[in-house]
Amino acid sequence: MGVLVDETTRVLVQGITGKEGSFHARGCMAYGTNVVAGVTPGKGGTMFDDKVPVFNSVEEAVAETQANMSLIFVPPPFAPDAILESADAGIPLIACITEGVPVQDMVKVYRYIENKPTRLIGPNCPGLINPGAKCKIGIMPGAIHLPGRVGVLSRSGTLTYEAVGQLTTLNLGQSSCVGIGGDPIIGTNFVDVLRLFDADPDTDAVVMIGEIGGTMEQDAAAFIKAEFSKPVAALVVGASAPPGKRMGHAGAIITGESATAEYKIAALTDAGAWVIPTPADIGTTAQEMLRSKGLLT
């Protein structure tokens, strides 16, 4: 099981012939992911690495290969078009890795897909992985993952790898890891993924990595308090950030008290989450949480 992706996921890569797209498509395939198609307008009819047919449009790719997920690597000016093309073709799940999509493009994209049967992960995200199903759809280093029963969700890329690395070192495997993205407007938020983890019989507990900016962590805290049935260990980074400065991620900016790490940590503490004291304690806090819940012997 795990969430969103598994053995049945048939991946189409938009931008497969580009530098980033080709590098990471190979990485996904080497991990075991079923990459069935690529799309690069103008390069239809060619083969990628002699294995994957390339099409001019998502529509054709879906008709020919029954792709049911799209992974997007196209540059920021063209990423909104790529997302809408996949949504238009009826693709149910899209992960957009691209960093730097203008926020006003994203608000339109969000409105367009809002009432369509399409879920968007990202943009500006590392993608998602289900280690047990040997399914990696994104840019994360596959080798650090271990199949298991902890769900990981995060707004970050490399910090997610840090979290996974710490879990794996302590032999705490992962059911699925979802990087939802570091932009102010993203397709899928913490609560959406928590719902999926709640319903996943193969996930025992969750590690959630938040950061400064916005109020998504508070929304997650309210959801955890009201209805989430599994234990959550939560980290919020950015306590050292000055107000008003964009800390790398477009979404990581303190614009008011509610956007601070302190405020978010207070909400998560109140919700009964296991608050991870510093980023060095992700693995040990998760371990302690699992032990105390009798989920680890």
Binding site: E20, F23, P76, P77, G100, V101, P102, V103, Q104, V107, K108, Y110, R111, Y112, I139, M140, P141, I144, S154, R155, S156, G157, T158, L159, T160, Y161, E162, G165, G182, P184, I185, I209, E211, I212, G214, T215, M216, L235, V237, G238, A239, S240, A241, P242, G244, K245, R246, M247, G248, H249, A250, G251, A252, G256, A261, P277, T278, P279, A280
Partner: protein, 385 residues
């Protein structure tokens, strides 16, 4: 990207939003001449990329061209410190000399991206001229918010609703509604993340005028706004931040002495937090990015080493897209070129970590290796400064 008030007013004028007559001055003589041209009286406004100027002596009413010259003399070439600048303030190189306004009523208007509604939102308040955060905290009922569907845009019924909520006279209402619609076009067509008018005034003759203007632009949209890029004023930016931004490196200058270089924004924030938790203070946030070359890593290290506050360096690389050997080469390159002897702690993990450590180990640099975040922060703490 932030732009100046006078630039924001240029943009407003292009969209038909009324602004006071104004002239930019860079010398006391120009301020004097401008005031004479505006009828002998004016408001002298320091042009810096920060708010709170009024309370901090950055906005002065003058009653004669001579007084304008004197005030300009005291403002130009100084650093203005406001609640929104750091303690060092922001340099005043330009003044906006404006005609006096005849204020009957002050309103507040802003457009921003509302992350909860995942779309633009138009905010209005009758509490113009005030610190809007204070209004939001003390009298939230005085702020009216109108979420906008970005696909249909701001509709006339919405501007009419806001004008109604502001309680404006019928005679002013249509002009105010026009300004709100124009402001929405400014917001969308220029890829703004914030447009704010505080105050938007109603004059005694019943006209609507933007007395102040603030525009923040989306850095990620600059590929389609070459014209707006010309508005960038590097003098308002931290020099190291400006240098990093030109190299496409995410960098924020902080107060401590531990220079930090990390790949990935989240891991970079985490590294600062761990450093702080260990009782050491970070000198900066730096995310060197995913697809960095040795040259880019080297440039990033050089930015850190050129900061006189930096007494020790912490490198934290989780090798994925960025390989550890590339990072290692870049670090050695920067130290060799600068001849720096600042001690460094290196924590590397992931792709080509063995090669990365070999390159650093063989380089003769004053490097300590750490395996975990805890080890790294402990090692930093042990470097005496």
């Amino acid at each position: 990207m932030n732009i100046h008030e006078f630039q924001a007013k240029e943009v407003f004028s292009r969209y038909g939003i009324p602004v006071p007559r104004g002239i930019v001055a860079t010398t006391p003589e120009e301020a004097k001449a401008a005031t004479a041209e505006l009828g002998g009286q004016s408001v002298v406004k320091a042009q810096i990329h920060a708010g709170g100027r009024g309370k901090s002596g950055g906005v002065k009413l003058v009653r004669s061209p001579e007084e304008a010259s004197e005030v300009a003399q005291t403002m130009l070439g100084t650093n203005l410190v406001t609640p929104q600048t750091g303690p060092e303030g922001a340099p005043v190189e330009k003044l906006l000399i404006e005609e006096l306004a005849d204020i009957k009523q002050e309103l507040y208007v802003a457009l921003t991206i509302d992350r909860d509604h995942r779309g633009p939102a138009l905010l209005v308040s009758t509490q113009g001229g005030m610190d809007i955060e204070e209004v939001a905290a003390n009298n939230p009922e005085d702020i009216h918010t109108e979420p906008v569907d970005p696909l249909s845009g701001l509709m006339p019924f919405q501007t009419r609703r806001l004008v109604r909520k502001l309680g404006l006279d019928q005679s002013v209402a249509s002009e105010a509604a026009k300004v709100l619609s124009a402001l929405y076009r400014v917001f969308v067509e220029n890829d703004c993340t914030l447009v704010e008018i505080n105050p938007l005034i109603i004059t005694s003759e019943g006209h609507v005028v933007a007395l102040d203007a603030k525009i923040n632009l989306d850095d990620d949209s600059m590929f389609r706004h070459a014209d707006l890029l010309a508005y960038r004023d590097v003098s308002q930016e931290d020099p190291l931040e400006a240098q990093a931004s030109d190299l496409d490196i995410a960098y924020v200058n902080l107060d401590g002495d531990v220079g930090c270089l990390v790949n990935g924004a989240g891991l970079a924030m985490a590294t600062l937090d761990v450093t702080n938790a260990a009782g050491a203070a970070p000198a900066n946030f730096l995310d060197v990015g995913g697809g960095a070359t040795p040259e880019k890593v080297s440039s990033a290290v050089k930015i850190i080493l050129s900061d006189p506050k930096v007494k020790r360096v912490l490198i934290n690389i989780f090798g994925g897209i960025l390989r550890c050997d590339i990072a290692g080469e870049g670090i050695v390159m920067a130290y060799k070129e600068t001849g720096s002897t600042v001690p460094l702690v290196v924590r590397m993990l992931g792709t080509n970590v063995v090669e990365g450590k070999e390159i650093l180990g063989a380089s003769g640099l004053p490097v300590v290796f750490a395996d975990t975040l805890t080890d790294a922060s402990n090692a930093i703490k042990q470097i005496k400064v």
